[in-house]
Subunit: 425 residues, 2 copies
Amino acid sequence: MSIAAMVARRERLLGPGNPLFYEDPVHLVRGEGVWLFDADGRRYLDCYNNVPCVGHCHPKVVEALCRQAKLLNTHTRYLHENILDYAERLLGKFDGSLDRLALACTGSEANELALRIARFNTGGEGFICTNATYHGNTAAVAQISPIFEPFEGYSEAIRMVPWPDAYRPLNNLSGAALADAYADEVQRAIDSFKAKGVKFAGMLVCPIFANEGLPKVPPGYLEKAVGHVRRAGGLYVADEVQAGFGRTGRWWGHEQSGVIPDIVTLGKPMGAGHPISGVVARGELLDSFRLRQEYFNTFGGNPVSCAVAEAVLQVIEEEGLVHNAAEVGEYVLRLFQELQSRHEIIGDVRGRGLFFGMDLVSDRKTKAPASEQTKRVVNAMRHKGVLMGNIGQHGNVLKLRPPLCFSKENADFLVSALDEVLSAE
Amino acid sequence: MSIAAMVARRERLLGPGNPLFYEDPVHLVRGEGVWLFDADGRRYLDCYNNVPCVGHCHPKVVEALCRQAKLLNTHTRYLHENILDYAERLLGKFDGSLDRLALACTGSEANELALRIARFNTGGEGFICTNATYHGNTAAVAQISPIFEPFEGYSEAIRMVPWPDAYRPLNNLSGAALADAYADEVQRAIDSFKAKGVKFAGMLVCPIFANEGLPKVPPGYLEKAVGHVRRAGGLYVADEVQAGFGRTGRWWGHEQSGVIPDIVTLGKPMGAGHPISGVVARGELLDSFRLRQEYFNTFGGNPVSCAVAEAVLQVIEEEGLVHNAAEVGEYVLRLFQELQSRHEIIGDVRGRGLFFGMDLVSDRKTKAPASEQTKRVVNAMRHKGVLMGNIGQHGNVLKLRPPLCFSKENADFLVSALDEVLSAE
């Protein structure tokens, strides 16, 4: 079936408005490691997908899935060892204060649960997020996902703060003064809740501000902002749905910020594509919530999901993927910086492990976002056999998050293609 | 590891407040067809779990899962045929007016999405549910799930109506007058929204009122109630998370009610335990929503989930499980009625295909709920090797929803055990 026929069939069955990548959509049929293959046998280097963190269709993950699916798949109102073994192994990777796990199926569900836990424990409602982020698709989580403005409008319980950005800095400040200025915005939001009589509950942010375009965060910002939050009686929820599981070259994105969150949410790479997500929290926060509010998730924590998630942790450890993300990540960053020295359009290059943002500008002085060119680059790269995306408030940041088994050889392939595409711009 | 040690370990890792069945929890390790096996090799007849609708670990479902998991698992922003094939096959089982599908991962997500679609399309907020139901665990869906009172309290946008019950009827009415009386309660809720200045959006109910205890619904009730809803500009959302996929002896629970919903939500049995859920709606409702509100679900509709869900549909068709649910369901109902003639405690027996409610009472005249005895029966049946649950506003309704491959022989085993347990009460 032709691509056009598939798109028409999709429109008829699923309707319009379903997001689809690329001007010429890609029809994928197979994946292996960092490679994806389309129906014509064409190969693509996957530089976009963080979900298959251990590589597409990793044999050990598939084997764990099949083995448990043949044995038993049921819910957590019966006892099963898989959820306990997984919880033990996963919690062992967090600071000792984060000692309880609740499992769900999607990142949206994890953030829903985190909001409810924080609101229950603080007795407040007011939440702070940034002004260019996304945390999920439910009504409550859409309130803190301004990238896609919710049709419901925003409630009085939400305040948005500017995301911390050292490339286009607030008031042209830098260093500690810049971190202070962004943290002051958090304090202003807290004050504004007070003025409106909304009791404050907390702040929910991605610790690496992935959807904001992976900015260079002014050093000390999160410590200062979270300090304001905690002094006002609020909780700090770190959304690790993108940053977690080794992506940044450390196990968790929040490790680089110097602040231990009160609640952490997990998702995407957790099951390498199998729908599993989770909330890790300080015990007293989760326990008091659960003792008051029955929370049950039919598929959450089932033996198959836990077998898959455990296999993902094992592979990350056995193959040294956190270290690989750090090492190959540095290598890619150096190559990107070298590209930047030759391509005027690259205004800024950011990286955290194997997560990269390349900020394209039409003018390095004004730093005006090159939004249209960024789209063209993404589409041109697809035709060169490299998959990536774009992100950020103006859509002008190339977004790259390859599987964690990405090699230096893969990086050379990527950079050579990108060099060609940028040269043609 | 002993049961006590597992429970302690569970408490330490997951915290208290995690629902766990039975006074002596069951540690399951294997499932096959209608049977579950614990760590000591003991066999249990599964009369509770509707999720593994085609039987535990059905080889064709496991095979489809493993085949696709080895090939590719990615999201719907690339094209893939599995989601299109599945959507075509699934939509073919609905009335022609219900012609669009959106996929998610859990029943809560499906009901979240349905609420947002209905609120967007009506421009209203007010929703009606019954006063003894459950539809999911997110903040918005918890508002229409009064079985577990939300700590947030209820908003002005929610009204609860008495569930339609011919066994303990409103004002001792019967027949058409009873249906009218219950439907009048829906009209009263609509009027009350108007009085409070809340624009009405719709009604969301399970078409067989599963969580309410599977009552005998007064004939014509839903047609009348939905008539009121539609005249007031509201939409009717049918939650088929429990009733769907052949459970009632028809494909969908709403088929028996004579009313075609505007929106249908699907979940639990859809992937026989694999996390997949969906919203089926009239095209214009879903389309207008999606064109305004970006909705994306990372795991929703992925090739693996769709392969599994397609295999579930195939098995239901190939093995004639809808017909089996109707036929064996009738057989079980006759046996239950025979039990009722010999056991005073059985006040009422209800059945829809392979879904049963047995209403236990301490006095047949007053119909006083025998809540404590019901718990004892459930625990005693577990020791006899039969798994079931209890439900309803007073917890006094035995709830049975075996896999759809349940046989007459299985039914004889169940009824014989239940006869012994009730005789000992």
